[in-house]
């Protein structure tokens, strides 16, 4: 009898396996054990196996599975642990797998043009990849962690589905409330789904109209009434899609309409409208007091710890720190969140404003910090001192908040801000747009400084050839280290269409605000 374990290289897993092997030994059972590490075996794992006395009893293999294509333009490394291990613990263990992934892509698709990166993790991955490759630059755009974007509620369809139902490895479980039956169904969500591919990047408000139109074309009857202020249209409870037995039934369509309904029901219950309003206020920098009291109330009502944490972090980053002791909410949510708050502080997601700072003083503080930072060297991001966020300054410099003249057309959006209802252009996407436009970092030096990053720009004496053929059908590989949201993907797809280039996404994992918060929560060991 052989046991085979296909595992990630974790110490905990090794102990688990060792327990099994030792238990077998105790009871005199003789078996063969094989451990297959994916994507790599770590030295610490071997150490544990040796310590546990089972090193000689197991054989170890590596399965170098680095890239999982989730769709025709999304490749995931399925390493959600990258986020916590790197940004919270300061551990570089996944830099090598990232470098190998780049290496693999490089070997499959050949040399690209230029490479740009921002942020330490990007720089390190790039350097390690070059070391492994013993070659020079490629095209890539790197990973500054845009916490702000990741913390916002998503309103493009795919993002909402992820936020509401959790998409795992490109597929989602739709329960009975969606399927209108007593069964759940697991659906693969990618460009193969013709309905999905047309609505995935759209703002939710357009989705309903689109789906309704489609089903109208299939001769279904609807009673559509616009009741919700955040732009979606509601289905009156009396109207229904044709059942499977009736004519005009389209399974995918039904499913997506069911999903929309479900999303709307949930979001209405959760005061989604008000939440978004608060988020937009924070992003824009208006009505802060109102938003703050909304968040406080949210915490008091104990609606959901994840939501509360998320909102607090958003407030902290946009406002450069919270006024009150961030750990006060642990009254509501349990004492173990004290540890969570410390984690968030370490990562700079939650900071406290020192006493005496008012809202108006924040601006001057930020500008002072900018000068300080420019002078100083880039300090280690993982020291216990929380970093100041310079969100407002960056936002201004990059024009992340679009000027509104009239109504923002969500059906025919004019820029990437549509993914957040016209309120905010995702920071990471904007940077990518700018770097591509400028073919470098000229004019962005100030922004880079504010981002506390160090850019990995191509050398001045570039060995890169400007291959005209390359330029024509430009393919840009956007690499996100730590995670990437569907909103960012939607935004960049839009950008790609505008600029006539195709984006391919490589990310350590697909993420959203909930996953990000969950990664920081200190649970049982």
């Amino acid at each position: 009898l052989r046991f085979c374990f296909l595992v990630r290289p974790r110490v905990r897993t090794m102990r688990f396996i060792a327990d099994i092997v030792n238990a077998d030994k105790m009871s005199g059972r003789s078996r063969k054990y094989k451990i297959i590490f994916s994507p790599q075996k770590f030295y610490a794992c071997e150490m544990v196996l040796e310590e546990e006395g089972v090193f000689g009893d197991v054989t170890c293999d590596e399965w170098s599975f680095y890239l999982l294509p989730l769709d025709e333009d999304i490749i995931s490394m399925e390493l959600p642990e990258f986020f916590r291990d790197y940004f919270l613990e300061g551990d570089h263990r996944w830099i090598n797998p990232v470098a190998r992934a780049l290496q693999l892509l490089n070997s499959l698709y050949g040399p690209f043009g230029r490479t740009y990166g921002i942020g330490r993790s990007a720089k390190m991955s790039y350097e390690l990849w070059r070391d492994l490759e013993e070659e020079s630059e490629r095209q890539q755009l790197g990973g500054y962690t845009d916490y702000v974007t990741a913390l916002c509620s998503q309103v493009v369809y795919e993002g909402l589905v992820d936020d509401t139902f959790r998409i795992k490895c490109g597929s989602v479980d739709f329960g009975p409330e969606v399927t209108s039956s007593d069964k759940s169904i697991k659906v693969l969500l990618n460009s193969q789904d013709k309905v999905f591919s047309q609505i995935r990047n759209e703002h939710f408000s357009s989705v309903f109209g689109f789906l309704s139109q489609k089903s109208r074309n299939l001769q279904a009857q609807y009673d559509v009434s616009a009741t919700l202020a955040w732009g979606a249209v509601a289905l009156s409870p009396t109207a229904r899609l044709p059942c499977p037995s009736q004519p005009g039934h389209h399974p995918l369509l039904s499913l997506h309409i069911g999903a929309c309904e479900s999303i709307m029901k949930k979001k209405t219950k959760q005061d989604f409208q008000e939440t978004i309003k608060a988020e937009h206020s924070l992003l824009e920098g208006f009505d802060i007091r109102e938003s703050t009291s909304f968040i406080e109330e949210h915490i008091d009502r104990q609606v959901s710890p994840i939501e509360s944490l998320r909102l607090m972090c958003l407030l902290s980053i946009t406002e450069n720190g919270l006024h009150a002791d961030p750990a006060a909410p642990s009254q509501s949510y349990g004492p173990e969140h004290l540890l969570t708050f410390h984690n968030l502080k370490r990562m700079g997601l939650l900071t406290e404003q020192s006493a005496g700072e008012t809202l108006t003083a924040v601006e001057s503080k930020v500008s002072k910090l900018v000068t300080d930072r420019a002078a100083g060297k880039i300090t280690d991001a993982f020291s216990s001192l929380a970093r100041k966020s310079n969100f407002r300054a960056i936002s201004k410099k990059l024009g992340l908040i679009p000027r509104l003249d009239g109504e923002y057309d969500l059906k025919m959006p004019r820029d990437m801000a549509y993914v957040f209802g016209g309120a905010y252009v995702p920071l990471s996407c904007k940077i990518i747009e700018q770097v591509l436009e400028r073919r470098g970092w000229q004019g962005l030096e100030e922004v880079v400084r504010l981002l506390n990053g160090n850019d990995a720009a191509p050398r001045a004496d570039s060995t890169v050839e400007d291959n005209p053929a390359c330029e024509a059908q430009r393919v840009v590989l956007a690499v996100f280290l730590g995670g990437c949201t569907f909103s960012e993907i939607a935004a960049l797809r839009f950008l790609g269409k505008e600029r006539g280039c195709k984006f391919i996404f490589l990310t350590t994992a697909i993420t959203n605000s909930a996953r990000m918060m969950e990664a920081t929560i200190e649970a049982k060991a």
């Binding site: 974790r10 551990d91 390690l128 993982f382 049982k524």
Partner: protein, 491 residues
């Protein structure tokens, strides 16, 4: 070693060659010839089955040495691990006891009567010697320092090899300086796996104070070690490290974190009590204190309530059986529970809401919200009313809510409060638009009517008439107002 001796025994007893001793008095030349022959043929036999001789694998690396390790599938591998002690190799041959390259005089060769390579010299020399034998133990370099083509990598190269997944021996980095160079190279290489591997080696081969001292100035490596220690659960080592670094708060937090692993409530309580004296920051200390006090109280409440429930005397517990124990619940949940099951108890009791409020300094807002939710669930509208009523110094009562009446309405509505009750509070919603929305939504007709009247909005009021029941009191009310000549309608 014993195996070698056993071989020797066997050899001496079974061999057809005469043993060589120092005291032989046979003809020396013929002896030499015979020995020569013996040695020549011995080597063939010996080469076949003597595993004391060095074996080298196809890749050129010595079999069974540290540098050789099975990476791919092999049955029952006895692969050696990097960083294992080179001197004692369990399960493999004790080649280490013998030098790889024989020097001209190796002690064991002399005794065994065989030589590798060209060492006739020794035999002849030995043979020509007469009488007293002088044996000088040879001074030779330890095996470990022989240039071994497989393990001659510099720190930088070692790191590079490890990044590519090759197996490397770190054993030969023995000087502190070499170790630190290795560590710095690993950090510069950005591969956390390699950094951790080097740290594992350093942890094993350096006294901890020295390791700590060096890591103090190497932030990245330090992070890796801390993470590693957390992962492997080496709590004591971790705490020592944090203490050395004067990160007292982290020491406290790391210790506190352990409570998550304690399942038994009593033990956890004890543990938390012990945590109170730890060097937390001021705010954290009060949180920890609260955590302990809360758990202490919860244990008492739980014991009492369990008893009450079992006894079956309490109607409340019978009607609303508890779904879960109150142990380890957050404060607000405990408050809710207390407002639900122990609302009227005196402040002296641990289970009373007022006691909780006082002990944990729960702000009014939080308190009212929670109590409201609990009483609403029980449909105790009177209690709800009392919560929201305050008496001013003149004795006049006034309705006040620290949370905004729209929230109150929401909570009541969620608990299916009757319209008359809802209406009371909808009326008190300050913002007119919200008030209208809620009133319309929940069919609080009187409020709608009154509001339109106050707004002097005749159009809306008239429109609303169609929404109320024909012939109802509300319809009449609307009619009355509409026909009121005194009102200056705006439309």
């Amino acid at each position: 070693m014993s195996r070698v001796r056993a071989d020797e025994e066997e050899y001496w007893h079974s061999s057809k060659f005469r043993a060589f001793t120092f005291d032989d008095e046979d003809d020396e030349l013929s002896q030499l010839k015979e020995s020569k022959r013996a040695v020549n043929s011995l080597r063939d036999i010996v080469d076949d089955d003597d595993d004391d001789l060095e074996r080298v694998s196809w890749s050129g690396e010595p079999v069974g040495s540290i540098s050789w390790s099975i990476k791919e599938t092999a049955s029952g591998s006895t692969s050696s691990l990097d960083g294992r002690d080179s001197s004692l190799q369990k399960g493999s041959s004790s080649y280490a006891a013998l030098p790889k390259q024989a020097s001209s005089y190796s002690l064991s060769s002399l005794f065994k009567g065989r030589n590798k390579l060209s060492s006739f010299q020794s035999l002849s020399d030995a043979l020509t010697d007469t009488g007293v034998k002088n044996y000088a133990p040879e001074l030779r370099r330890p095996k470990a320092e022989y240039k071994d083509y497989s393990s001659d990598w510099s720190p930088k190269d070692t790191v590079r090899r490890m990044q590519r997944g090759k197996v490397c021996s770190l054993e030969r980095f023995r000087s502190l300086q070499d170790k630190l160079v290795l560590l710095d190279e690993a950090v510069a290489g950005h591969d956390g796996n390699v950094i951790t591997a080097v740290l594992i080696f350093l942890k094993r081969t350096l006294r901890r104070e020295i390791l700590f001292r060096e890591l103090e100035v190497r932030q990245v490596a330090l992070c890796h070690l801390i993470h590693f220690l957390r992962e492997t659960g080496e709590q004591k080592f971790l705490l020592d490290l944090l203490r050395f670094l004067d990160r007292t708060e982290e020491v406290a937090l790391s210790q506190y974190r352990e409570h998550l692993n304690i399942q038994d409530v009593e033990k956890r309580r004890e543990f938390l009590k012990g945590c109170i004296g730890l060097p937390f920051s001021a705010e954290d200390t009060s949180h920890i204190q609260d955590h302990y006090t809360l758990l202490e109280r919860q244990i008492i409440i739980e014991a009492n309530d369990r008893h009450l429930e079992m006894a079956g005397q309490s109607e409340l517990f019978r009607k609303y059986p508890r779904k879960a124990s109150i142990l380890n619940m957050p404060l607000v949940t405990t408050l809710f529970y207390s407002c639900f099951y122990h609302y009227t108890e005196a402040e002296g009791m641990f289970s009373s809401p007022t006691n909780l409020k006082k002990t944990f300094k729960i702000p009014d807002k939080q308190y009212v919200l929670t109590a409201l939710a609990a009483r609403a669930k029980l449909r105790a509208w009177g209690d709800v009313d009392a919560l929201l009523t305050t008496k001013n110094w003149l004795g006049y009562t006034k309705k006040k809510a620290p949370i905004g009446f729209h929230r109150v309405v929401e909570i009541l509505q969620r608990n299916n409060a009757p319209v008359q009750v809802l209406q009371e509070y909808v009326r008190l919603v300050e913002d007119v638009e919200t008030r209208l929305n809620l009133a319309t939504k929940y069919k609080c007709h009187d409020v709608v009517i009154e509001t339109y009247r106050d707004l002097k909005d005749r159009v809306q009021l008239t429109a609303y008439k169609s929404k109320v029941e024909r012939g109802s009191a509300e319809e009449e009310k609307i009619q009355n107002i509409l026909s009121n000549m005194q009102i200056r309608w705006k439309n």
